[in-house]
């Protein structure tokens, strides 16, 4: 849409102005790295952060979310009754600053998952109040990143504003009218000139060589590779190593599975139904009534995760289930990685790489 320019020194004033009307969230420094947290002071915002343990998905799908409260009792005739009180948790105007392009790709998938077919009102109601301000990645987060392979090194079309650091300025692209209004009402941004656009172009061209490719195949090839490799040996090896800790899925920006539980109040009559993040890597996940488990072995669960990331999600939603953010690789204590697995599968299947 339109390109604006805001000098870096004007950013804190933009953040402070937004705080009057929004909860402002962004990457902040923690004792060991960075995390997305609510910004209470503008100088907490660290737009030059590398990565976070949890992606900003936690603001879109909280780890624990109350769906409704219930009250049980009996009516005057003595019949049991249940009253249900809908709850919409964490629905508030929120600006999320500094989302990397991989994490925006994750939210683009979430938007499809939670709106297509069954429309998830809890997600959508919260989502409507969110404003996404992306930041262009000019350097890889670290060696675990493989965003370039996964094609997520460019901002997906879900941002309201997208910022690129160009020398002492941010060049800000508007992705929505909402974003543009926000920028004009709360900041001192000015329209960018042709010169600014040229400077932006130079910064954007210069960034690509800094990112390396890690996959031996194109991302478009992963569905067929996984189909061929369904019975490969590597799954057993990985299953033996896997700690079944679920860290890979919990930190994943595209994993959205949840469990639904009822939590009873101490009075034994009232309670609430909550959903909490769940993981296909845990034993209980595919356990059904009667005791059968569709994915009893860890090997079948590791395979399932890779199938979801590289094939199934794409088949269902048309988008990759992996953004190449590298979080699962950083979180895994036994070095199970997506590029390592796909490359080993590629070697085992001896597929022509095509790249």
């Amino acid at each position: 849409m339109s390109l604006y320019i805001l000098s870096k020194e004007k950013l804190p004033a933009f953040v402070e102005a937004l705080q009057a009307g929004f909860r402002v969230v962004g990457p902040v420094r923690t004792p060991t790295g960075f995390a997305f947290e609510e910004i209470t002071q503008a100088d907490q915002l660290q737009l030059d952060y590398t990565t976070t343990i949890l992606p900003p998905k936690k603001y879109f799908l909280p780890q624990r979310e109350t769906l409704f409260k219930y009250h049980t009792g009996s009516n005057p005739e003595g019949a049991q009754s249940v009253d249900v009180e809908p709850v919409f948790q964490d629905v508030q105007p929120t600006v999320i600053f500094g989302m990397h392009t991989c994490d925006m790709s994750g939210i683009m998938l979430y938007d499809k998952v939670f709106s297509e077919g069954f429309r998830d009102e809890h997600y959508m109601t919260r989502r409507d109040k969110m404003v996404i301000i992306g930041i262009e990645c000019l350097h890889p987060c670290d060696d675990a990143s493989f965003c370039k392979d996964m094609g997520t090194l460019t901002a997906p079309p879900i941002y309201d504003l997208h910022m690129t650091e160009v020398d002492d300025d941010y060049l800000i692209d508007t992705g929505s009218e909402k974003g543009e209004r926000l920028l004009l009402n709360y900041s001192e941004a000015k329209m960018a000139t042709t010169d600014h656009m040229q400077r932006l172009g130079r910064v954007l061209s210069a960034k690509w060589p800094r990112f390396r490719m890690r996959l031996k195949m194109s991302k478009d090839q992963t569905p067929s590779l996984l189909t061929l490799g369904y019975n490969a040996h590597i799954w057993e090896e990985l299953g033996e190593r896997c700690l079944a800790c679920g860290s890979c899925t919990n930190v994943c920006p595209t994993c959205f599975c949840f469990d639904v539980q009822d939590e009873l109040d101490i009075n034994m009559q009232d309670g609430e139904r909550v959903r909490v993040w769940d993981s296909c890597q845990l034993h209980e996940f595919a356990l059904v009534a009667g005791g059968h488990n569709f994915r009893e072995s860890k090997a079948s669960r590791v395979r399932h995760r890779l199938m979801r990331k590289g094939k199934y999600i794409k088949q269902v939603h048309g988008l990759s289930g992996c953004t190449g953010c590298g979080r699962c690789e950083r979180a895994c204590l036994v070095d199970i990685t997506i590029p390592g697995t796909l490359n080993a599968l590629h070697d085992e299947m001896k597929v022509e790489s095509g790249v």
Partner: protein
Amino acid sequence: MSAKPKIAFFDFTSCEGCQLTVIDALQTHLGLLDLVEIVQFREAMSEKGQNYQIAFVEGSCTRKSDEARLLAIREQASAVVALGACAHLGGVNSMKNRWPIENVQTYVYGQNGKDAYESYPARPISAVIKVDAVIPGCPIDRHEFLRVVQMMLQGRTPRLPDYPLCVECKLRENACLNTLGILCLGPITRAGCEAICPSYGDGCEGCRGWHPEANFDYMREILRGHGLSDHEIDARFTMFNHYQMEQMSGHAPLSEAVAPVTDTSLPTSSFAAPKED
């Protein structure tokens, strides 16, 4: 609800910290007393009612004479709940099982120890009586205690999380201690405590016992990466879970025979053994 179910608390070899947590829970969740009637609780009251339906037992069985008392509790109670790591696992008490019991008695109580003080290898109460539910931890988590009580009152079987602590740790967005050079047994330990120790920077010691898919081989690799010797790793694995490791020996091999250790002297201690009379 008609008459409130009567419950009782009992202690065996333990520090009684789990019962203190229950007392604490009674202060923060007064509604609990609307659900149950406590008829015996040495830590909190002097009455000793013998008519109870649910027995909460803290502590491990470490003496022959404990067995009769456990059997009597089992005889009376419709349901027995193991309260905390000692009752659930044997807990830290079972560390002594690595040495011949006479050496332990002499080390702790002096030369006359083996005659003056009865002792035998520590075991969880489930080794002696049938246990219907478990509330793990050292100490227990009060919210889990409340959940288990509620589920029992509803006639449901209380279930424990069967996945590792890492799940809860990640949901809290803690940096992984194992990657920061701090030893943590979270990857093999049963969740349910909301990762309280790692959240405050202390590595997990496994007080809730192992989760059913605990991967000991790769946990050992991780601990070797911290520079631990196999002997030190075994010590970590057996701090709360000596009895479990012993029972699982085929599936969770230690680097040395679990018990008894060949060297029958006890490790040197900074605590002086009592002077002999």
